[in-house]
Amino acid sequence: MSKEHEKYEAVIGLEIHAQMLTRSKAYSSDKNEYGAIPNTQVSPVTLAHPGTLPVFNRQLLDFAIKLGIACDCDIREVNEFARKNYFYGDLPKGYQITQDTTPICTGGKIVIEDIDGNPKEIALTRIHMEEDSGKSIHDQDPFNTLIDLNRAGVPLLEIVSEPDMINGTEAYNYLSEVRKLVRYLDICDGNMEEGSLRCDANISIKLKGDKKLGTKVEVKNMNSIRNVQRAIEYEIARQIECTESGEEIVHETRSFDAANGTTFSMRSKEDANDYRFFPEPDLQPVIIRENDIASIRKTMPKLPAELLDKYLNELGLSEYDAKIIVDSKSIALYFEELISHTKNYKGAANWLMGPVKGYLNELGIHISEFPISAQKIAELIALVDDDKVSNSVANQKIYPLLLKNPDKSPLDIAQENNWIQESNTAALGEFISAAIGKYPDKVEEYRNGKKGLMGLFMGEVMKLSKGKADPKLTSQLLRKELEG
């Protein structure tokens, strides 16, 4: 960063649109399903045929309340809807049903890590319910814009943050947290590439310590979390350069060009639509009572922050392991299941982080496709913990067979292959005496300080026991025998 750049700081707020995984659309019974043949999920309501009326989908309300609880928001009792009016080919009614002055959630926060890894709270302005527009497809027909109305009316939650972020990394972390949260809550699949999670960024710069905010620029069309970070970093640099060279920053909407990592002007805010918001007369206000919130609270899953806290402070996992497990809901769920069958939490984390993830990565598959149940992995951990097999036998011999025969029990596999290790002290004693008796001169060398020879005796005992000697016990007994 150049000297000029250090004079400035950025002010960043994000607006996220999350498509909800409700069964039907926000205001009609049309199916809400991604990827259907264009214009097949369109009833007269979606098509805005004359005389049709919106009917509110209560599932959207439940989802909004869930997110509100998870973000510690104030949840509004009387929820009114509003119309946002504008003309566009993929907006059949000529207005979008949204919430204007009475968003369902206000306040609340998302906790992220700042650039140094310290926790930082990002305050939320509001979360409100609305509907998506259809999709205009400009690149499939050389002469026409094609319109797919399957998406029209799909429920959205718009999550608006306060301008609390100061760099691209924080925006990256914030967006990752929000995505993690909606996935944990099972209300949105969080897929930015498919557009089920979309993000616009409002960015301005100011001199460090200045109270007055600079002119705000909105950046759109970033289809991955990484691109949001790139766009913000580019935009901050651009605004600083503009300011340094004496140019005015224009209040405008810019689009991100992922190919070269830059932004370009789409339209000035002067040309912005006057949306003529007014209360939606076709929908009665929806009332949320305390007990509605309480009953949803009861169905809330464990959230990432809670799990992280538990793994670090109750289970004593390393920060690295805990974070990776919590990062994905499905991995965390697998881990939760695993630790319901074993008390060896660290062992469980090691198994998950090592052999299990290794297998998933190697095949490029999801944990839901992993063949071995958490219970079987727990049994495997127990075999090691009970000194029935060594860690290396469990890892290198039983685990590969278990992957092929996930219905078998690890114990059966070990027994069938005669891998249950010898931990009978008397039997071990015989092997040890034999090993020591075979190399009297080496015993002498050992006693004179050549401790490296332990390996030789261990190897001999293993050979004699056909690999079944418990290594821990063997080394203990050997040491005792040699050192007298």
């Binding site: 009917v55 509110f56 059949p92 009614k93 003529r276 007014f278 007369p281």
Partner: protein
């Protein structure tokens, strides 16, 4: 055949064998043809209604017919009926056929009512004289030089001229009651939310309500029993249980409020005033209490109604854009001209005027001065109306200040035309039910009505008392 005056009369004639249902339908079809210059019907579903008449006749014979068997019905051209054209009397819906039925038509059909055709109206229900239809004005059957009233002019004329027994209209600011008064029939606007709006082409969603035109109060009550009630397709339809509206209960010692200002307003015809005063005396003589009450917002009613209804209309009519259905301009070359040219060519003058006014009052910088203020005034009107109806059972006014006027008389002056609604918009703004009863004939030969309003969801009381007055 003598034109029947009620469903009860139809049913007894059918039972007596005076005629069968097919004869009756043919009688109406002949009338429609003979009186086609009145321009009440936009489309007559002749073959279909004859076919259905046969089916319903056999149901009647078998004793399995529904409650409305024998009722021949016309639909205002803003109530959708599956598989049939509907246009809101606008060019912009040229060629459009509805893929679904309104809740009202479904409920009527389920009780074996017969639909004979769709009825002319002001374009998108915007007007008070039916002169705003893209398909020409509707004439008044009592004097073809006079308007039928609006916006449900075709519906009022069709019943008055015996082209069907019952018709349905919609009332946003008086569009059922005023033409009912002009044409001499009963016109009922139910409580807002009593009848589902699903399938009614929206004008002003917070005030629109479907209601019947009938000769008799009984028929109005009977059809209300059928069409009223909760509906999963309309969030604003009330879940309140419906009453047995057609089982009238005698009302004695009613307390009736007459809005003082309505009888002192400048535009009130003196014969209309006299008729109301005579009615008041008669009611008192019958033992009812009639008191003058002040309603200080009479002059605010129409401006408030205009701001709110135009604002909602500007948004409701955005969907007519030439994109998915209806009229698309041949001169459109791209997206913006598809919108601007289709809408410029497809909508009539009055509709465009209201869209522009509505867009204006919702715009940044004007919202507070117009839309917000009108909302506040509406609240005051509602509160004052509620206050009156806490003390009184009914509010009584003329339906309209005068009888049906001549064609062209008001059409040069939109403000004068808007004042046609002065007595009727109160019920829409307050959400209460109102009925126009065809009680009087003017020395000019034209009929005019009395308007009664009651508290929300008190249709049973309102209709019982109406029946008592009409006799």
């Amino acid at each position: 055949m003598k034109a029947p005056r009620s469903l009860k009369e139809v049913r007894s004639s059918l039972t007596a064998g005076d005629y069968n249902l097919i004869d009756l339908v043919r009688f109406y079809l002949d009338n429609i043809e003979q009186k086609s210059d009145l321009n009440a019907f936009l489309e007559v579903w002749k073959d279909e209604v004859l076919e259905q008449a046969e089916q319903v006749q056999s149901k009647i014979d078998a004793g399995t017919a529904g409650r409305l068997a024998g009722m021949v019905v016309g639909l205002k051209d803003n109530i959708v009926y599956k598989g049939h054209k509907v246009s809101a009397s606008s060019k912009i819906l040229e060629g459009f056929e509805s893929l679904y039925s309104s809740t009202v038509t479904e409920r009527l059909e389920a009780e074996d009512a017969l639909f004979i055709g769709r009825l002319n109206c002001d374009e998108f229900a915007m007007g008070s004289s039916n002169e705003n239809s893209a398909f020409g004005p509707v004439k008044n059957p009592h004097n073809p030089a006079c308007v039928s009233g609006g916006s449900s002019g075709g519906s009022a004329t069709a019943v008055a001229a015996d082209m069907c027994l019952v018709s349905f209209g919609s009332d946003t600011g008086g569009s059922i009651r005023q033409p009912a008064s002009f044409c001499g029939v009963v016109g009922l606007k139910p409580t807002y939310g009593r009848v589902s709006r699903h399938g009614l082409i929206a004008y002003a969603s917070s005030m629109d309500q479907i209601g019947p035109f009938t000769h008799s109060v009984e028929d109005a009550a009977l059809v209300l029993e059928v069409i009223a009630g909760k509906d999963n397709f309309d969030n604003t339809a009330s879940t309140k249980v419906i009453d047995d509206y057609a089982s009238f209960t005698p009302i004695s010692n009613a307390r009736i409020a007459v809005i003082e200002e309505s009888l002192n307003s400048d535009g009130l015809d003196s014969e209309v005033k006299t008729a109301i005063n005579t009615q008041i005396e008669k009611l008192r003589a019958d033992g009812h209490t009639v008191e003058m009450v002040s309603f200080p917002y009479l002059d605010e009613l129409v401006p408030c109604y205009n701001v709110l209804s135009n604002a909602e209309a500007s948004s409701n009519l955005s969907r007519f854009d030439g994109m998915r259905y209806g009229y698309r301009s041949e001169n459109a070359v791209d997206v913006p001209t598809t919108y601007s040219k289709s809408r410029t060519e497809g909508f009539g003058k009055e509709v465009k005027r209201r869209i522009m006014l509505g867009t204006f009052v919702l715009s940044t910088g004007y919202y507070d001065a117009y839309y917000s203020k009108a909302q506040k005034v509406r609240r005051l009107i509602q509160e004052k109306t509620d206050e009156i109806l806490q003390d009184f059972d009914f509010i009584l006014t003329p339906t309209s200040p005068h009888t049906a006027f001549k064609f062209g008389e008001n059409s040069h002056d939109p403000v004068a035309m808007y004042l046609e609604d002065i007595y009727t918009v109160q019920a829409n703004l307050a959400g209460i039910p109102g009925v126009s009863l065809p009680l009087y004939t003017h020395s000019n030969g034209m009929p005019f009505g009395l308007q009664l309003m009651a508290n929300k969801f008190e249709e049973k009381k309102l209709l019982s008392f109406s029946k008592q007055i009409v006799g």
